[in-house]
């Protein structure tokens, strides 16, 4: 009896082995094409950008020579790079906080206070701008931001606010970009955070209300902790997105006036593909990659103490 059971067991194992082999074949068949794509279009480019950042490219001969840290030193000594870096950090901070904060507020508003049909209606409208290309909407917002004929100054004027030079003042150009960015992306943040709010136990909220917790306390003590994984994810997404900010500035202000709204990516494109200084462009790219890397590390480290996973 024991032998028979053993034979059956061996048969099972052999069959299992055969399936495993077939599974392995299928696994490589399924994963290698995309992995090959990654190697060619993501991994090699990253490594290559690092290499180029240590080289000087000669536009006339097409030759490259190793120059050590020269490109990095030159961008650190270049006031334009420093201002682009400062602008990028400004965008990152304010777009990150603004999009996530307002996204959270909108998510709470469209969660389940009003009847379901009304909520679905508002969700769709708030989300729609996220689907439209920045270049298209930036063309419209450029008209809105005009000093004399612009819609925004017109309505501000009704409240007695004097005309703001949104696009032609060094102080306001970044604010205009910020407003466009939040208008465009807040719906996406809302929807992603909403997914987290759906995990909030409605019974718990009611119990808290009966126990006398006001709306803000319920928000602060119950809703935010439960939805924190999504809020944190959205914050990171907004931050890494804002680090790459490009089209909205290009259309609205062209980086100006002066360099007052220019971002790192704009400078990468300009150095790389207008003045063909590949070395400097790559060094700036690596700077950008470093910033993204820091944010990613914060994501991993922060999620441990900040986020309440169940």
């Amino acid at each position: 009896m024991c032998g028979a059971a053993g034979a059956v067991k061996r048969g099972h194992i052999m069959k299992k082995k055969r399936t495993n082999r077939r599974e392995k074949g299928a696994a490589y068949l399924f994963t290698l094409p995309s992995f090959f794509g990654f190697v060619v279009f993501v991994l090699i480019p990253v490594i290559w950008v690092v290499i180029i950042s240590f080289q000087k490219y000669n536009v006339f001969t097409g030759a490259s020579e190793f120059v050590g840290l020269k490109n990095y030193l030159s961008i650190l000594n270049d006031p334009r790079s420093i201002s682009a870096l400062k602008n990028t950090l400004w965008y990152t901070l304010l777009c990150g906080i603004g999009n996530t904060g307002l996204g959270l507020v909108l998510a709470v508003l469209v969660d389940d206070i009003l009847p379901a049909k009304v909520n679905v209606f508002f969700r769709s409208i708030y989300f729609f701008p996220s689907l439209v290309a920045l270049t298209f909407v930036a063309i419209i917002w450029q008209e809105f931001f005009q000093t004399d004929a612009g819609v925004i100054n017109y309505y501000l004027g009704l409240f007695g606010v004097s005309k703001v030079g949104w696009l032609n003042s060094q102080n306001m150009s970044k604010v205009a970009v910020l407003i466009l960015d939040i208008w465009k992306n807040v719906g996406m943040s809302m929807l992603l955070i909403l997914a987290g709010l759906q995990n909030v136990d409605k019974g718990l909220l009611e119990a808290a209300q009966i126990d006398g917790a006001n709306a803000f306390q319920r928000f602060r003590r119950i809703i935010v902790p439960v939805a924190s994984p999504q809020i944190f994810f959205v914050l990171i997404m907004n931050i890494t997105g804002a680090l790459r900010i490009y089209e909205s500035i290009l259309v609205l202000t062209g980086g100006g006036p002066g360099d007052s709204s220019r971002s790192l990516v704009m400078l990468v494109a300009e150095k790389g593909f207008t003045s063909f200084d590949y070395g400097a462009a790559s060094a700036l790219s690596i700077l950008l990659l470093g910033l993204i890397g820091i944010v990613t590390l914060i994501q991993f480290a922060g999620s441990k103490w900040w986020v309440h996973y169940e």
Binding site: F35, F38, F41, L43, W48, L131, I139, W141, Q230, V268
Partner: protein, 293 residues
Amino acid sequence: MNKRLQIFGKKIKVSHILLTAVMLMIAFVMIAPFLWVFSASLRASYSEATALPPKWLPPVFSEWNLTYYKKLFTGELPFFGFMKNSFKMSTVITIGMVVHGAAAGYAYAKFKFRGKNLMFGLMMIAMMVPVQVTIVALYKIMNLLGVINTSWAVTLPSIFGAMCPGLAGAFGIFMMRQFFLSIPKELNDAAAIDGAGPVRTFFSIMLPMARSTLASLAILVFTFSWNDYFTTFIMINDTDKLSLPVGILSIRQPYVKGNEFAAVVLSIVPVLIVFIIGQKWIVKSMTHVGVKG
């Protein structure tokens, strides 16, 4: 705030009415630019379009000025060429990403094989590297492949990564893997007992189940690539090969804005149609993406 009003025979909280008013105002801000550009595209001149107070609603039908739309439709401006290019590139990118995303996502979710964690880990790291960082090297690689200034220079890297905002690279794989992880293992075992090999299980059992996630992924990738500016701007020089977002900026003229307003309206219409049809999937798929960062 718990007072109730009697409206249409229903009791409604006063606080809810106030909230609805606030939400309607926000809704107006969200759609105002679209209303405005539609209205502006139908005005005869730039000064009429931008006259204050702003005209949010289009003029009555008999007063519609269609000059600018005619210019786009007759091909006086290469608008539909741009649209065709955009459509071609977005379709190629979408098909490519859905196919390899579904296959690889399935393998990472269900198969055990050597190098799995390393490969998947590398791709997740690559997700954090946007095309803006690698653009200089990517340009050189496309040059080596001899595809600069063709749509391949945009589609190839985009299929394998690049453009989905916030989530570059392995986006499609990640999303499909999340879905396949949610399918119980018993289903695979049952298929294996019935004698279906892993490839057949994938095609005849798993893919049909993944229909709605596949649709969401396709809609998302299509919209994102339809909207992409940066990659096309760097990789393609010839005007007649440009995609819509880049092309639209190339036909801008100072003081004659009617052309670009009409072009913006026509560019947004396809997105609007896709959104109205796929709204349920889009909203659901965004929820999927957000489940676990």
